[in-house]
């Protein structure tokens, strides 16, 4: 157990300082304060002052944790703060499920499992820091904990998760599976909609596409046109809209 308790204050303080400075200094954060769950809790007009108060509390606890001597009282204050975060996250999940939490910077993502996991992780770290521990802090442990907490922070996703996923997409090329040989219907409809034939008949059409089939290099597209049927012949190859042909047919069986 030597060193475990001694490592925690640094990890907790790092995140508290980050959270406090973002709340105090970030202009984007102030601009978005009205969209957070805290604005729902205290009212939009009081959101910015409320964020400043929370920031001061976070910075005060962080300073107490970092400055020796380390007292159990300070770890208890950190634990109380983290328990408060968890309660606030639970509140925002229930009362404002579409709002972001505003915990460590501005982003538009609502509270999710990762936000809860991060707050719970910090709470556990604060509780671990409670027993008096004279040992030196374990640097690898503190770094590993920090890495886990950073990975749980949605605020940082655009710096590592998005580039990482883009890299994976570039390496794996998931959507480059050879497209089926046939022309998608949407491509034919795009050509059809730009054709003089469609423009001349479109005011008569009363339905969406009723039927479509391919034959002899042409795609036939059938629409209902009041008591008649409009049939278009769209070339499968080429992109000349004037090659589209149309006929209005009165079918004896049609109602």
């Amino acid at each position: 157990m030597h060193g475990i308790a001694a490592s925690q204050p640094y990890v907790i303080a790092l995140f508290l300082v980050w959270a406090g400075l973002m709340k105090l200094l970030s202009r984007r954060m102030r601009a978005r304060a009205g969209h957070t769950a805290l604005a729902r809790l205290v009212g939009p007009a009081r959101a910015v002052p409320a964020f400043r108060l929370v920031a001061l509390a976070e910075l005060a606890v962080a300073a107490a944790l970092l400055l020796p001597p380390l007292l159990p009282l300070e770890a208890a204050a950190a634990a109380a703060l983290c328990a408060g975060f968890l309660a606030y996250l639970a509140y925002s999940h229930v009362a404002a499920p579409a709002s972001s939490c505003g915990c460590l910077g501005a982003h538009s993502r609502p509270v999710d499992l990762r936000a809860f996991a991060r707050a719970a992780f910090l709470l556990v770290a604060s509780l671990l820091a409670l027993p008096a521990d004279p040992g030196p802090p374990l640097v690898p442990l503190a770094l590993a904990e920090t890495a886990v907490l950073l990975a749980l922070s949605a605020e940082l996703d655009r710096h590592w998760l998005v580039p990482f996923r883009r890299l994976l997409v570039r390496l794996r090329r998931p959507l480059t599976a050879a497209p089926a040989g046939d022309v998608p219907l949407a491509a034919s409809l795009h050509l059809l909609h730009r054709s003089p034939a469609y423009c001349s008949a479109s005011a008569q059409l009363t339905t969406d596409v009723q039927d479509t089939w391919d034959e002899d290099g042409l795609r036939f597209v059938v629409y209902g046109a009041r008591e008649r049927t409009a049939v278009f012949a769209v070339p499968l190859a080429g992109d000349d809209p004037s090659a589209v042909r149309v006929s209005l047919v009165r079918e004896p069986t049609q109602v």
Binding site: A98, S108, R109, P110, D112, V162, R165, R166, V169, R173, P174, L175, T176, A177, P179, A180, D182, P184, L185, A186, A187, H190, L191, P196, A197, C199, S200, A201, A203, Q204, T206, T207, D208, V209, Q210, D211, T212, W213, E215, F220, V222, Y223, G224, R226, T229, V231, F232, A233, D239, S242, V244, R245, V246, S247, L248, V249, E251, T253, Q254, V255
Partner: protein, 198 residues
């Protein structure tokens, strides 16, 4: 079906034209073109010729649909009705549980004789959070939607280029709009068209 298709094919290949002649249409005046649009609607009043909801049951050729505003609709599907479910489909593709939008003509008995029915059609905007195999993970207002690429059906429209079956230009974190067919009671959608601004 074969003979009807042959009839239509011979009509368009035999007598078909680049444009429809005025004689084929009757009057070309705007009154004629919009003659069937019926009386003007009061702004805000529900359109009697439109229905939306989810199919509760199917009886012969009638769909019994419960609207999202708890109004019950009976929608009759006839020979001339177009059905869409990721593309034109026959009537047997309509299943209880499917959501729909329908447009047609309201009959005196309250039934809607449908001209067009769109099954499970959705139009959603969001950010691509991940691309795996043939699936786009879309963040739509904080909710994850899995959008499946269907070979031969899904197309991408990039800016104002023509639709293409090649979706490989889609990137993680970009904004897209997806027109597709919802898989009922899931957060999954089959893609008809992905609109990509760039």
């Amino acid at each position: 079906m074969r003979s009807r298709r042959d009839l239509l094919k011979s009509a368009v290949l035999g007598g078909g034209a680049g444009v429809v002649a005025a004689t084929a249409l009757g009057s070309l005046g705007p009154e004629a073109a919009f003659a069937a649009s019926g009386p003007e609607l009061e702004p805000g009043a529900p359109d009697p010729d439109f229905a939306e909801g989810r199919i509760r049951s199917i009886k012969d050729n009638t769909l019994l649909v419960l609207g999202s505003n708890a109004v019950f609709h009976r929608i009759r599907v006839v020979d001339g009705t177009s059905l869409w479910k990721l593309g034109p489909v026959p009537f047997d593709q309509a299943k209880p549980g499917d959501g729909l939008y329908a447009r047609g003509v309201r009959m005196p008995d309250g039934e809607l004789a449908a001209e067009s029915v769109w099954l499970n059609i959705v139009n959603i905007k969001g950010h691509i959070t991940n691309i795996k195999d043939q699936t786009l993970h879309l963040d739509h207002h904080g909710k994850e939607v899995l959008c499946h690429v269907i070979a031969g059906k899904s197309v991408a429209i990039r800016s104002d280029a023509p639709p293409s079956a090649d979706l490989s230009m889609l990137k993680v974190s970009q904004h897209v709009q997806i027109l597709g067919a919802w898989r009922p009671d899931t957060n999954e959608v089959d893609i008809a068209t992905v609109f990509s601004p760039h």
